[in-house]
Every structure is written in structure tokens, then in C-alpha cells.
């Protein structure tokens, strides 16, 4: 496209935005609300994902060895487990060591068990891929001379269920808002198309190409989308700045960390802007297809 033509299209699209100021306001507001929600949702979900990852990395499988296992059996078990695919590390802890730990944690009352220790020898196993923890645990429990296998005590499952539920609710809400915003934009564009039907008719009559006729409307939709993304980008950037400034010093050295401000906030901003453009362009396409028939 020639620069002169592009300038003409841009001028036309701006004219329409000025002309329908009320519809412009309504559709930009709808985009703003939608994208604000998208932004906050992305902040929360991405950080929860990060937290889940952090927590998962800490999940160990606890393998209880049968009481009647001999020392050789324990040695062979250790090599069997550590040679399994998907196992990152194994750590053996005798029942005496286990008791010492318990006494350290819960106090001397437990030291009376030193006479007849009721605990088991234990392997602490870590999976290479935290998501595979469950499968690794299952595989280990199929081995001989294993009394019991425990891991995470359902903690990961709970977190994942929570994450999935949150994600689904958020996505449905965002989808509904997305359609509202698109609908409002498509209505705005329809008004422009109707206001300019004479011009369009003549353009087509004298042989303007279909793209020449469409582009000003696509641009108008795009501007609406972009205008609707400005406030969300600003607010989300500010909000996350506050959150990271508050939380990061307090979380230093902890297992759980928030995502760093940059480059995360650039990615979120780009996502909001792209979604704005997408909503706008898609909205105007809906009207162009229906009312322009080119």
C-alpha cells in the first residue's frame, strides 16, 4: 500500500472516531474493563503457576521399607529406585535417624521409644519432573519389600485443582466480557458503515478494491481496541510494581517467589495490547462481513 493511501485510510478512521463519540466511548470502556480483568487475571494465574512450580519442586516421595528387609535388600532397593527413569535423587534414612529427627521436632517425650523403635527405614525420593511424582511413587510401591509410599499428602493435587478451577472461572468471565466488547465495537463500526454507505456505494461503483473499502473500518476498530488497552496496561503495571515492591523483600530467601517485575510486565502489557487489537479488528470484521458485503 502506498503511504499516501495509508494516510488517507488513517485520516478516515480518525474522522469516524470523532464523529461517533458516544459509541466510541462505550466500546472503549467495554474493552478497558475486559482488558483490566484480563491483566489482573494473568498476573494472578502466572504467579500461582510459579508458586505451584516452586512448591512442586519441594515434593518428596517417602518410601517406607518393610521391617523384615535385610541390609542387602535395602541396598538393592536403593539401586533399583535410583536407577528408575524419572528419579532425580534418593536419600536413605535409617529408623534410628528418623527417630532422632522426630525427637528433635517434638521433644524428649519421644525418646522413650529409643528402647523399641516403632519407625521404618525410609528412602526420600525426588522425581526429575515434579508432575511425574505420582507415577514414580506408584512404580516404587510395586517393588518388593516396600511397606508404604507417601508423597505430598494431596497438597499438589489440591493446588492443581484450585488452579484449574480458578482458571476456568476466570476464562469464562473473560470470554463473556470479550464478546461484549467485540459486540460493542462491531456496533460502532456498523454505525460508521451506515453513516458512510453513500461513499461506500460510490467507491465500489468506481472500482475501489475491496481492501481499500474495508481498511478504514478495520483501522477504526483497531484504534478502539488500542485505546481500550491503554488504561489496563497502565494500571496493571502500577499494581504489579506495588505488589512486587511490597512482597519481594519479604519473600527473599523463601521457597516461594513472585515473578520478577521485568520482563514479566512487558509480556503482560504486550498481551493486553495484542488482545485490544484483536478485539477491535475482529469486532470490525464482524460488521464488515455483515454490512459491507465486499
Amino acid at each position: 500500500m502506498k503511504p499516501r493511501t495509508l494516510m488517507r485510510h488513517i485520516k478516515e478512521s480518525f474522522k469516524s472516531i470523532g464523529r461517533n463519540s458516544w459509541m466510541t466511548f462505550a466500546s472503549v470502556s467495554a474493552v478497558t474493563v475486559t482488558l483490566l480483568l484480563v491483566g489482573v487475571f494473568v498476573l494472578i494465574m502466572m504467579n500461582l503457576n510459579k508458586v505451584a512450580d516452586d512448591l512442586e519442586n519441594d515434593v518428596e516421595i517417602k518410601v517406607f521399607v518393610s521391617l523384615d528387609a535385610s541390609e542387602e535388600t535395602v541396598t538393592s532397593l536403593e539401586s533399583q529406585i535410583s536407577e528408575m527413569s524419572g528419579v532425580e535423587s534418593t536419600n536413605f534414612s535409617t529408623k534410628e535417624e528418623e527417630l532422632t529427627d522426630l525427637v528433635l521436632d517434638f521433644g524428649d517425650e519421644l525418646s522413650l521409644f529409643e528402647q523399641s523403635n516403632p519407625l521404618f527405614d525410609v528412602f526420600y525420593v525426588k522425581a526429575t519432573d515434579p508432575q511425574q511424582t505420582k507415577n514414580v511413587a506408584k512404580e516404587i510401591s510395586a517393588l518388593e519389600n516396600i511397606e508404604n509410599v507417601k508423597y505430598g499428602e494431596g497438597k499438589i493435587e489440591k493446588l492443581f485443582n484450585f488452579l484449574n478451577a480458578g482458571r476456568n472461572v476466570g476464562l469464562i468471565l473473560i470470554l463473556a466480557l470479550l464478546f461484549t466488547a467485540m459486540f460493542l465495537i462491531s456496533n460502532t463500526i456498523r454505525i460508521t458503515i451506515v453513516a458512510r454507505r453513500r461513499e461506500i456505494e460510490i467507491m465500489k461503483l468506481v472500482g475501489a478494491t475491496n481492501w481499500f473499502v474495508r481498511i478504514p473500518f478495520i483501522l477504526e476498530g483497531m484504534w478502539l481496541g488500542i485505546m481500550g488497552s491503554l488504561i489496563p496496561i497502565g494500571l496493571v503495571a502500577l499494581l504489579y510494581k506495588e505488589i512486587t515492591d511490597f512482597a519481594q523483600p519479604r519473600l527473599s530467601g523463601e521457597l516461594i517467589q513472585l515473578l520478577d517485575y521485568t520482563p514479566f510486565i512487558y509480556q503482560v502489557s504486550a498481551l493486553i495490547l495484542l488482545m485490544g487489537v484483536f478485539i477491535g479488528v475482529w469486532g470490525s470484521f464482524m460488521s464488515i462481513r455483515k454490512f459491507l458485503r465486499v
Partner: protein, 228 residues
């Protein structure tokens, strides 16, 4: 220039507007399309710039197949054809110059060429001195001259007019016909649907009469053939 073979047009509502037309029109001809209201004249005209498609039959305009032309090729067809209507179809927010220039701007002609061509055609239609005026400030005849200027500014091979004098008083109508004659003399094919008996009988050209979607008469230099 234009060939139609058994062209048949049925509108979605079931009305058969054209019921098997066979016509051949040569480059440079001047053709009147006459016939009663509802005969199919406008449908015939719309077919030529692919506003409507034939339901069956073959039709070529400047060797472009109207029955099968792709939507995205239609603009190229329309650049070969100037169209004029009874109601002028001018843009009221643009002045005379801008209305004519519009036709070249939207097909992305060079600005220098646009200026030159627009001034040339405004001179031809006798409205150079009113270039800055707006359509509402012009008489009907002047408005029609602007619309004619717009239709020929791209130097089309064919000019199609659907009752171009229908809204004009008889005297103004003659001015418009004078303009058409000059455009035709310069080599442009003209096809004009009309109800104006006096014009058809005075400025003799080929007359194609349509009734009920059929060509009932096709005579070079014929008369109007209906009572006014």
C-alpha cells in the same frame, strides 16, 4: 465489447427479470434501452457492472466473463465502466471538484494526474467555474453533469446510464444528451436506459426494446415505439 447469450436472471424472490437475452454491442455504439416499467432495463444495466450476476447464460463485458468473475476482480471491471444514475449519487459533503476527484483517489491514481484529469472533465461538462461549489448549490442538470464527469474521469470504455434524464426538465435533458453525444463521438460506448420518447426519436441511435425480460425489438436508428 458486450456479448450476452441466453442471459437469464431470476431474483431470490422468484421474479424472473431477464428471460434469455441475446445481444451484441460493439465498441463505440450508442444504444438506447427502452421498455415499460418492470421490463428488466435496470437489471440489464446492473448486470454490466456486475451489480447483479446472471442466473444462467453467458455474458462478456470487454472480454471479462460476468458470470464467473471473482469478487476481487470486480473492481477491475468497474474501472472500465462509467455509471450514471437518475439520482446522481453525489457526496453532499464534497464540492464539485472533490466529488469528481474522489473516483480517482479511491483507485489510487497519482495526485498530479488526478488534478489534471478532473480539470479536463470539468471543462468538458462546462462546470470548471463551479468547481468549489457544493451539490446542494447546483441545479439538477448541473448535478447530473458532475456525476457524468465523475463517471468518465477514469476514461472508461463504456458509459452506462439508467434513466439519466429522468429527474430533469426537458430543456436540461437536452443539455445532458448533448454531452452524451460528445462523449460518444470521442469513442466511448454508451448504453442508456430511458423513458424519454422525444430524445430517442430525435437523436437516432440503436434501440433495444425489452418487455417482460425479453428483447422484442432491436433496430439501429429505430424509434421509441411506445406512447409517451
Amino acid at each position: 465489447m458486450i456479448q450476452m447469450k441466453n442471459v437469464y436472471k431470476k431474483y431470490p424472490n422468484g421474479i424472473v427479470a431477464l428471460n434469455g437475452l441475446n445481444v451484441e454491442i460493439e465498441q463505440g455504439e450508442f444504444v438506447y434501452i427502452v421498455g415499460p416499467s418492470g421490463a428488466g432495463k435496470s437489471t440489464f444495466i446492473k448486470m454490466m457492472y456486475r451489480e447483479e450476476r446472471p442466473s444462467s447464460g453467458q455474458m462478456f463485458v470487454d472480454e471479462i466473463d460476468i458470470a464467473t468473475i471473482k469478487n476481487r476482480k470486480v473492481p477491475m471491471l468497474r474501472r472500465q465502466i462509467g455509471v450514471v444514475f437518475q439520482d446522481f449519487k453525489l457526496l453532499t459533503k464534497l464540492n464539485v471538484y472533490e466529488n469528481v476527484a474522489f473516483a480517482l483517489e479511491v483507485i489510487e491514481e497519482k495526485p498530479a494526474d488526478i488534478k489534471r484529469r478532473v480539470m479536463e472533465v470539468l471543462d468538458l461538462v462546462g462546470l470548471k467555474h463551479k468547481a468549489k461549489m457544493f451539490p446542494t448549490e447546483l441545479s439538477g442538470g448541473e448535478q447530473q453533469r458532475v456525476s457524468i464527469a465523475r463517471s468518465i474521469v477514469n476514461m472508461p470504455k463504456v458509459m452506462i446510464a439508467d434513466e439519466p434524464t429522468g429527474n430533469l426538465d426537458p430543456e436540461t435533458a437536452w443539455d445532458i444528451m448533448d454531452l452524451f453525444e460528445r462523449i460518444n463521438k470521442a469513442g466511448t460506448t454508451i448504453i442508456m436506459a430511458t423513458h424519454n420518447q422525444q430524445i430517442v426519436n430525435t437523436l437516432r441511435h440503436r434501440v433495444i426494446a425489452i418487455e417482460g425480460g425479453l428483447i422484442v425489438r432491436d433496430v439501429v436508428g429505430g424509434d421509441y415505439g411506445y406512447e409517451a
